[in-house]
C-alpha cells in the first residue's frame, strides 16, 4: 500500500462526521473516559443529516459561547483527574 492509498476516501458528508467520531470518541485513553459534548450535540451520534458546515457551525458557536463564562454546557472535555 502506497502513501497515496492512505488518502481518506468517502462521501464528503460522511468523512468529517467520521473523523470526529473516530478522533473524539475512539482510540486509547490515558485514564478513564473522555466525554465530549459540544453545544448539546453528542458527537458520538453525529448523523448523516448533519452536514459539514453544520458541524463546523456548531463548533464555532460552541467556541464563541465558551468565551462568555460562566457556561457549563460547551464545549466540555473531561480530562483525567490529577492532570
Amino acid at each position: 500500500m502506497s502513501d497515496d492509498d492512505l488518502e481518506l476516501l468517502g462521501d464528503d458528508r460522511l468523512v468529517l462526521g467520521d473523523l470526529l467520531n473516530h478522533v473524539l470518541d475512539k482510540g486509547i485513553v490515558i485514564s478513564g473516559d473522555v466525554t465530549i459534548a459540544v453545544a448539546d450535540i453528542d458527537l458520538i451520534r453525529v448523523g448523516l443529516g448533519i452536514y459539514i458546515t453544520a458541524i463546523q457551525s456548531e463548533l464555532d458557536h460552541a467556541a464563541a459561547r465558551t468565551r462568555t463564562p460562566p457556561h457549563a454546557n460547551v464545549p466540555v472535555l473531561h480530562h483525567p483527574s490529577g492532570l
Binding site: 492509498d5 481518506l8 468517502g10 478522533v23
Partner: protein, 230 residues
C-alpha cells in the same frame, strides 16, 4: 511541560519529520519507552479543548504515523504531566499496547455505514382530532421504523457475511444501534493490501437493495480497534 499523545507505534519506525507540526503547531517528536514509540508534542495546556481544526491535525499526525506502520491511535485530548509521566504510563501497559499493535499490524480501519433510507417516511404530523387517530398514527410510525430497521439489519449482516467470505476483513466491530438511529454502523479491520477489494465487496453486497444506501469511508487508523482504556 505537559505532553500530548497522538499514537503509539512499534519501536524502530522512522520518527516524524522535523517539519511535522501537531496540535497548535507544536513540533511532533517520538518518545521511545518500554520498547514502543509514542508520537507526542509539547503543550502548555494541561487539557485540550476540542475543535474541528485540532481534530484534523490530530488525525493528520496519526495518519503520518500510519504511513510508517499501523499505530495504536490515542483519542483526542490525551495529555500527561510530562514525558516521564507518559513513559511510566506506557511502561505500566506495555503488554496490552504491544498486543494491540500486533492485533492491528498491517491493517487499516474502514467505516461502513448503512443509511436508513425511508426512516422518516412515517405519516406526517400527529393528528389532533382524536385519541384513536393519534394512536393509529403512532402505530404506523413505529411499524415503518421497525420495517426499515429490520431491512437495514438484514443488509448489515449480509455485508458482514460478504466481506468475511471474501476474506477481506480481519475483524468486524458493530456499533450499538441507538433508538431512532438513522444509520447502522460497523468498523472493519482490513489488511492494507485489500482496501480496494473490500470496497468492491461491500458495494456489490448492497447493490441489490436500492432502498438502502451504504457509505464507506477510510482508510482510518484503527481507532475503533484500539479503544482500550487505562
Amino acid at each position: 511541560m505537559p505532553t500530548y499523545l497522538y499514537c503509539i507505534i512499534p519501536a524502530g519506525c522512522d520518527p516524524p519529520a522535523a517539519s511535522r507540526r501537531g496540535v497548535d503547531a507544536a513540533p511532533v517528536r517520538a518518545l521511545d519507552a518500554a520498547g514502543v514509540s509514542a508520537w507526542v508534542s509539547d503543550t502548555p495546556n494541561a487539557s485540550m479543548s476540542p475543535s474541528v481544526a485540532r481534530a484534523r491535525v490530530h488525525d493528520d499526525v496519526v495518519r503520518d504515523a500510519m504511513a510508517r506502520a499501523t499505530p495504536v491511535p490515542a483519542r483526542f485530548g490525551q495529555v500527561l504531566a510530562d514525558d516521564a509521566a507518559l513513559a511510566q504510563w506506557i511502561d505500566e501497559r506495555r503488554e496490552s499496547l504491544v498486543e494491540s499493535l500486533a492485533r492491528v499490524r498491517g491493517c487499516v480501519e474502514m467505516s461502513v455505514r448503512i443509511l436508513l433510507a425511508g426512516h422518516d417516511a412515517a405519516p406526517g404530523q400527529a393528528p389532533r382530532e382524536s385519541g384513536s387517530a393519534y394512536l393509529r398514527w403512532v402505530r404506523e410510525r413505529q411499524q415503518t421504523r421497525q420495517s426499515v430497521t429490520d431491512q437495514a439489519e438484514f443488509l448489515r449482516r449480509g455485508v458482514a457475511r460478504a466481506v468475511e467470505e471474501a476474506g477481506v476483513v480481519r475483524e468486524v466491530r458493530w456499533a450499538t444501534v441507538a433508538p431512532g438511529a438513522r444509520s447502522l454502523e460497523a468498523a472493519h479491520l482490513v489488511p492494507r493490501d485489500l482496501v480496494a477489494r473490500h470496497r468492491e465487496v461491500v458495494r456489490s453486497a448492497v447493490e441489490r437493495d436500492h432502498r438502502m444506501k451504504v457509505m464507506v469511508s477510510g482508510p482510518w487508523a484503527p481507532y475503533t480497534f484500539c479503544a482500550a482504556g487505562s
